[in-house]
Symmetry: C2
């Protein structure tokens, strides 16, 4: 029965790691904190968190009570205790477990960049104290406390610990693109909950795109009326989101992309554009020709009115004008614009855009805001106050810093590229081209932002593209630079990922739901077995690799949409095989590998059966066949090893060709277990196991 | 590998049914409609529902567009297609699949009891037509269309079919008790979505209880300010819920329970009560002494003001005054009340309550409403217009009908009692004591309402107590009386249950989440294996059986809270064993039984390990040990059978004693597989297998 149970663990719980087989046997439990705090001292014993638990508040900030209420609500989500179990209490009853919270002062009415977020948290057997210079620090410390609370033999409890914590970077953000696909309010709110849980502090709200203009303008109502398909946020909803974020210590920075990425504006206001209309909402993806006309005063008059209205609606100090990816074709084709450039000694389109940016910066400043934009806006004629968000990388950031500009890193944090958590985790704002900057220049690098571009995400799938990887990026931006242990990160991420389920984030729960719909059946075991070990094609391959040209109307309901950006099952299997082929064998390891391979080999019959009922299963039948072949090859390799025979060269060559072939994407998903199977084959043939890069077609 | 895969199916997907092993092999698919329509004619072929699908609307009702928008939004949830894939279109493009909708007329501005809900739906290969006398019928027909759409080898499609449908009863409701535990708005809205999906048409909103007064009164603000712990619905929120329900064809009937169940009113207004205060919000469960004073004019003046205010807030024709469970102790103890009774020839407390009800009925009528109440209010001095909601049963309803009173059945539909779907499904408003009524008297029975009393449900657990069982009750109330095939019901319920996940109902998704919290680990396979085959104790046993007196502050986070009211795994296992012991053996059946028993036998070691980390697991260790013993006993029985030996009598007796012992609840949960194991033991011993009733202590 042992093997049976092991298999259950493997396929029902999507884990291949032998180490995790008997988690209950671990003592004491590791702390599942993410981001990892700056300083942690563990002690022995724990503080019970039971229905008599209460909170006492100290400090003059009137918002502190709301902070505590949100905390208590979160604690309820994580323990299943009920609303009235907890009370916010200045003088908790003697003898009951209590958390004493002290805030030095209130934060600015509108949260500002660089406000103190530090805190000290001490948990002892008799109670806990949380002190912070500001309420923002209290919020961060409360998230740490929440992550400490777990079920124990005595009930829910937090372990005795002393934590002294503060963020490494003052700007730790997530950008959500609501332009390409509109995201309903509940999606934003649950993601704000998740952001707060991992101590992020900036929600960058990408609100206009070729495919949609998403905010109500009262001054220019045709923006949303004609440019959004009816999918936009009212100003009341915007204020609601901002307040929701504020209560969680998160600033909200709006982005209105200009002069490019602006087709949706022109549907209602074609005169803004550099070529005559009419325009319609763009349905395709890419960089398009339409751009604002930077040569007409009417453009600036319009934008002055618009930015003025939005500057009031969005209280944050920063105002993002995008500024990326103008292809200049409309400018080239417009004689009046060419004439203007001539008259103003603007040598090329970059000069023209710089002229535009300079004008816009003055408007933004006139309305009391600091301008932010993508790398392209950086030109020495702009004041040093602006902030550069870099999709280009640390070198670009470093150059900006040396010129005196502040910046933040997004290169390496693009969640839409389907990279592994480890890849994102490895990217440091002070790494690569910024590594050798002076401390003063480093100080200009404010932090980073993950970007969730929305060509291929819907309200249903977006959570699984953001989470749990976002939590690891949040750790990179919060924790000390030397917190880089990848195995520790993955172990904690596994816990935090499900812990975030309590906020109704759907990155875990929507998986089976999507598979059931794809299968047209509740019996999704085989389909899950397959989908667990595939990933969507990487980077921009999805756009290129489809059978039809993708549009914003395309259903996002395929296996590629259900598949996780990173297959943890494949990662864990790869680790086990690495140990196996490098001689770090353990009892049960080979049986584990064998049962996994057997399951893969036999799974394709079930998939073939499901495919007879579903077009959405049909497209992954070739992947399933490849997985089956890999399973068979791996089993044969084990056979040779067990018999102490060296696998014959012709067989090995044939199998390695098969491995190569299985790397090609099918149905736009990649089979992620070819690498470890290659190693088993090489190992059985007496060769040195080698790593297997993805082919270019998969990237 | 065959057995391994089988086991995976068993434990990962919670299904023991051999028939369901290869669902993909079924051809053609059965229609997964619930409630089953009055008349269904299937045909061959299907209509594709692809991204070019559109809807055309015909009819003068301006609300029809909103109805279609909700439908399209639902279709998106069920297919994963995206918002703009669909358009509401008067003239759909030629050649594209389309649904043509015709509504004869708008419904009443405020939905009324008995409005026409019938519809005709025809799906052909080239398109579908839905026609209904009213928009309400359109709503019902659209739900049927949604349930027809499934993935096929050609993509999403609806099978060719002609349906002519109408409800059996005009009143098909769900009561949610928001008094004992407050339910946030999102809980109500997702349940309204679920109600609409199964064609229910009344949301009975139980809004006041000893434990909480849940609506904002502007006239008497101390009701919510002092009686709700801050947990109440603002009038704006109430209007929002009513509009949300209205858009889905659901009436909202408020209940304010009086003169009993009213402690929470008295916290702010002690003068209403029959004994001097002060009062505080009740934290315990049960029937309590506080009751309104029916002898003081000030009581009626207050209630006139209050009912007047609420009659405006809730537009429905019906106003529920509760009227149940007055123990009369405060009346007995109050000399002034006794004097009043004497002076008015009121012989007992029932007379006094009837006097109160007569006064209240006049107030309710004065404000334009029809009074509704529980059985207790029925007295001949009340006008025939009132409606009786019966917790007592069909006989009580029948007597009321014979006296000329309309009524609806709730006896048999109490969701808090943790009964099986089958038990609820068997209950018919025209059954038992109502079976022999005349047609005219039957006409007075309007339908029924399921009741979700909230002593032991939180926002987290309520969905799993309502769903999926509610869907079967909805079928009982909508479908023809002869739709009674229990196996068909369970087969369709399995599909509908997951189909409802799309509305973010959490009856499925919260299960693993709760188990992870209970285990303090993501590795919940063993705990799930156990919890899958237990049920909470039945009826009112939870209240009696706890180690501490239950209160409204008690955490609802235990295995009893995670366990489903009905173990489908146990039911399916029982069916397989029934076939096995009655000679209806099939290939694989014995292996299936053996692997299940083996898993049970071995599962307790894993549970014991988990228990070392969690107090919440500890309390079910005895259940796990019993399950292990049952597994071992069943395996031994199979051994005897396989060897063709009759099991020795002493062994059988010993094992049957063990079965008996395993029936006792432990940790307040019941092991639901003792019955089939008993049958295996009896079968192996050459005895006739017998059914096993639950012991009284478990009921």
């Amino acid at each position: 029965m042992r093997i049976l149970l092991l298999l259950l663990t493997v396929f029902a719980l999507c884990s291949f790691s032998l180490e995790q087989e008997n988690p209950a046997a671990r003592q004491p439990r590791p702390l599942n904190l993410m981001p990892w705090p700056a300083d942690v001292k563990t002690s022995t014993g724990q503080m019970l968190v039971d229905p008599t638990f209460s909170v006492s508040l100290h400090g003059s900030d009137p918002r502190l009570k709301k902070t505590a209420e949100i905390f208590l609500d979160d604690l309820r989500r994580h323990t299943g205790m009920l609303p009235l179990d907890f009370s916010v209490n200045d003088h908790p009853e003697q003898g009951h477990p209590a958390l004493s919270i002290t805030s030095g002062q209130a934060n600015k009415e509108v949260l500002e960049l660089g406000e103190d977020e530090s805190y000290k948290l001490e948990v002892t057997l008799s109670g806990a104290t949380l002190t912070a210079p500001t309420t923002l620090g209290v919020m961060r410390g409360l998230q740490t406390f929440l992550q400490l609370v777990e079920i124990t033999p005595q009930g829910f409890a937090a372990p005795a610990v002393a934590i002294d914590d503060k963020p490494r970077f003052p700007w730790r953000g997530l950008m959500i693109d609501c332009g390409r696909h509109f995201m309903p309010l509940d999606v934003l709110k649950r993601n704000l909950d998740g952001m707060a849980a991992v101590k992020l502090n900036v929600f960058h709200w990408h609100l206009s795109e070729n495919q949609g203009f998403r905010v109500e303008s009262k001054k220019y109502p045709k923006l949303q009326e004609m440019g959004s398909d009816g999918l936009y946020y009212t100003q009341e909803q915007v204020r609601d989101v901002i307040e929701y974020a504020r209560e969680r210590g998160i600033r909200v920075v709006p982005e209105f992309d200009m002069p490019g990425h602006s087709t949706a504006w022109f549907v209602g206001y074609p005169d803004l554009a550099s070529a005559p209309g009419p325009y319609s909402i763009e349905r395709h993806w890419g960089v398009f020709d339409p751009a604002m006309d930077p040569t007409r005063e009417s453009t600036y008059k319009f934008l002055d009115g618009f930015i003025g209205e939005m500057a009031k609606l969005f209280p944050d100090q920063f105002f993002h004008i995008g500024g990326d990816e103008v292809n200049g074709k409309q400018w080239d084709a417009n004689p009046k614009i060419q004439e203007f450039m001539h008259g103003h000694s603007l040598k090329n389109n970059a000069d023209l855009q710089a002229y535009f940016n300079t004008r816009i910066q003055k408007i933004v400043a006139k309305h009391g805001k600091t301008m932010e934009g993508w790398d392209e806006i950086l030109r020495p004629d702009l004041p040093k106050s602006i902030v550069i968000q870099s999709w280009r990388g640390q070198e670009s950031l470093g150059q900006a810093a040396q010129q005196g500009y502040r910046g933040l890193l997004s290169h390496g944090y693009y969640l839409d590229l389907m990279q592994s958590t480890e890849q994102h985790y490895d990217v440091d704002p002070f790494g690569d081209g910024a590594a050798n900057l002076s401390d003063a220049d480093k100080g200009k690098i404010l932090g980073g932002e993950a970007c969730m571009w929305a060509e291929y995400v819907s309200a249903e799938t977006i959570d699984s593209r953001i989470w749990p990887r976002m939590a690891a990026i949040a750790e990179r931006l919060w924790s000390p630079q030397n917190v880089t242990d990848v195995d520790s990160m993955y172990a904690r991420l596994d816990v935090i990922s499900h812990w975030l389920d309590a906020y109704k984030l759907e990155h875990n729960t929507d998986y089976d739901e999507m598979l059931r719909r794809i299968a047209g059946s509740n019996h999704i075991g085989p389909l899950r077995g397959l989908t667990d070990v595939v990933e969507p094609v990487k980077n921009y391959a999805r756009e290129r690799g489809g059978t039809t040209e993708p549009t914003s109307l395309m259903p996002l309901n395929r296996v590629i949409d259900a598949a996780r950006p990173e297959s943890i099952s494949a990662r864990n299997f790869s680790k086990v095989v690495n140990d196996f082929v490098s001689g770090k064998m353990k009892p049960g390891m080979e049986a584990h590998i064998r049962s996994t391979l057997t399951h893969w080999r036999d799974n394709s019959d079930e998939i073939a059966r499901l495919a007879t009922n579903s077009s959405l299963v049909q497209e992954v039948v070739p992947v399933s066949q490849n997985l089956s072949a890999l399973g068979a090859a791996g089993l044969q390799a084990l056979e040779y090893l067990d018999r102490g025979e060296k696998a014959p060269q012709p067989w090995a060559e044939q199998q390695l060709a098969l491995v190569q072939q299985s790397l090609e994407p099918k149905g736009q998903v990649l089979l992620m277990v070819a690498g470890p199977v290659q190693k088993l084959i090489q190992f059985s043939a007496g060769e040195t196991p080698t790593e297997l890069p993805l082919p270019r077609s998969a990237q």
